[in-house]
């Protein structure tokens, strides 16, 4: 079943048809979401009432577009702040982790490495509730001892950031470790021979070498945070990030406004994704 081995014509047609069908299946849901963002109707469904930009730019009542809808805009802002924090934190810790696992031999390293992988195997909802329980236990403890109510430990943005950080860091670590393993240590030795201190050598030689992986990890972490649903759902307070805000609206019934938001999301994330893919191919 490779091109060099002759196959019957009918087999090739059936196989090619199957692959084509598969890609149609992949594209179908996204295409309908995108198309109905332009439907001039209150519902993202047939019949088609004509083409409109109102769900993007409209500013009068039944059709308020994305760019005039306060709630959505605020949710986008919230998501961006959360995603920015998560990306920075997880790449910082991911980098130190990569150096630790790459440069040091110590007792319990294997066990620690497995523990580091675990957040990927824990369901997001369970991560969310465990952090919710731990922070509430801590907050209640502080209240019992000092009569102090620490709002930051109650469901809210800090917990959302921590919850997403707890598993995205594993991914950042894996991405950066993979690149660090390809690094030629003798380059650092050369810098040391030339009189650089250890820190200078790492800063001027190793970190620039790691840069593509670090930037890639920032983008991946940002996207994963922006789109995260499960962990966020359990930790969210009154400020809802975009996915939660959209979920709440979707439960109440949807207008093409949601399609418009989705289309913008798709454009944004596939642009970022393409950038990363191109960046790493280079």
């Amino acid at each position: 079943m490779i091109p060099t081995i002759p196959q019957s014509r009918s087999f090739r047609i059936v196989y090619g048809g199957y692959v084509l069908l598969f890609f149609l299946y992949l594209a179908l849901p996204l295409t309908v979401v995108a198309v109905f963002a332009f439907n001039d109707s209150q519902f993202p469904s047939l019949p088609w009432e004509g083409f409109t930009w109102n769900w993007f730019f409209g500013d009068s009542d039944p059709q308020i577009g994305v760019f005039h809808e306060r709630g959505i805009l605020r949710a986008v802002g919230t998501s961006a702040i959360v995603a920015g924090c998560v990306a920075m934190l997880s790449v910082a810790v991911g980098t130190t982790n990569a150096f630790l696992f790459n440069r040091y031999e110590f007792r319990g390293k294997g066990a620690l490495y497995v523990l580091m992988l675990l957040p990927l195997v824990i369901p997001g909802i369970v991560l969310g509730i465990s952090i919710l329980i731990a922070s509430s236990t801590l907050a209640n403890g502080v209240w019992d001892v000092a009569q102090l109510d620490i709002q930051a430990l109650r469901p809210g943005l800090l917990l959302v950031v921590l919850g997403q950080f707890s598993f995205i860091t594993t991914i950042a670590t894996l991405v950066i470790t993979a690149r660090l393993q390809k690094f030629d240590r003798t380059l650092e030795d050369a810098a040391l021979n030339l009189g650089a201190t250890r820190l200078t050598a790492v800063r001027t030689i190793t970190i620039p070498f790691l840069m593509p992986a670090m930037i890639g990890a920032v983008v991946v972490a940002f996207l994963m945070s922006f789109e995260n649903f499960n962990t966020t759902l359990m930790l969210v307070g009154s400020d809802a990030p975009l996915t939660i805000a959209m979920f709440d609206r979707l439960k109440e019934g949807s207008t093409p406004l949601l399609n418009a938001v989705s289309l913008l999301l798709m454009l944004g994330s596939s642009l970022l994704a393409l950038l990363v893919i191109l960046f790493q191919r280079r």
């Binding site: 992949l26 993202p44 523990l115 465990s130 707890s166 949601l258 994704a273």
Partner: protein, 285 residues
């Protein structure tokens, strides 16, 4: 120099220990402790296994638990069956440019939020949706057909959502299979089927295992798809956790459910690794 290395080591170890300790280990211990207590009266708790007893004797809870497990296994199997021929096509049949384009086309939909993908399926399948209209137009149905809110719709959504995580490991392992090995199989008189069974599938096993593990985990822990696409009867275990925590504020029972989910997923992942003689490091890292 020695003390230097020591300081560096401690500095690098600290963030890792803080992260795993404060956000993974301690929260899970807390969760276990909460699940092991019983509320006697306001502010008074007693250690007991009452939550687990309740979870294991109440038919609804138990039924949902097993249903979620079985449906997740089913979703994993279907994903593998659909993905394998396509992965093989991308890895072995397509060449050059086409190969790259097809692979990227596979990746792109999954950079889009799961919510958007689910929303897409809702637009397609609901009573006023595209498929229903298409069926009426083709004369196959004489009134709107509701295809949402049942197990089949949920399965379609689950398979769609996890497709990428099956596709990438499969394509990667299949690409590493040398064409000449397949040719040798044919030269030695093997037919298409025996080459597939004796050469291609054994070679792809690592990819199959890691794909299946990730897809199973994602299906088991999915909340959106069962909630939005599934019907009244397709309650998912994650929905029960959410209900206990957020709707009923019964954290003790919710924590017990959380632990059961964690144990179930660990046992199945461990079992799959055991069965194929692989380690978590090889599969994930």
């Amino acid at each position: 120099m020695r003390s230097h290395a020591r300081i560096g080591f401690v500095l690098l170890l600290t963030p890792l220990v803080l992260w795993l300790g404060l956000l993974i280990v301690i929260p899970h211990i807390d969760m276990l402790l909460i699940s092991l207590r019983e509320r006697i009266s306001f502010g008074v708790y007693e250690t007991s296994a009452a939550q687990y007893q309740k979870a294991l004797t109440e038919p609804l809870y138990l039924r949902t638990f097993w249903r979620t497990a079985v449906m997740s296994v089913l979703a994993t199997g279907i994903t593998l069956l659909i993905a394998f021929p396509v992965a093989y096509y991308i890895a072995k049949m397509a060449k050059g440019r086409l190969q790259q384009v097809l692979f990227i086309l596979c990746l792109i939909p999954f950079y889009v939020s799961e919510l958007v993908r689910t929303f897409g399926w809702m637009i397609l399948l609901r009573e006023t949706g595209i498929v229903s209209n298409l069926l009426q137009w083709a004369g196959l149905a004489d009134q709107p057909v509701e295809m949402l809110y049942n197990d089949a719709a949920m399965m379609v959504g689950l398979v769609y959502t996890s497709m990428l995580f099956m596709m990438v490991p499969l394509v990667t392992t299949l690409e590493s299979l040398d064409d000449s090995v397949i040719e040798a199989g044919y030269d030695l008189g093997g037919g298409g089927f025996s080459v597939l069974r004796e050469i291609i599938i054994p070679h792809a096993m690592p990819g199959i295992v890691s794909g299946c593990i990730v897809v199973f985990m994602l299906s088991l822990g999915n909340y959106l798809t069962p909630t939005m696409l599934g019907g009244k009867d397709s309650l998912w275990f994650t929905e029960m956790i959410y209900n206990q925590f957020i709707v009923r504020s019964n954290w003790e029972l919710g924590a017990a459910f959380g632990f059961m989910l964690l144990v179930l997923s660990s046992v199945i992942v461990w079992g799959m690794l055991r069965l194929t003689g692989r380690t978590l490091q090889e599969t994930m890292g």
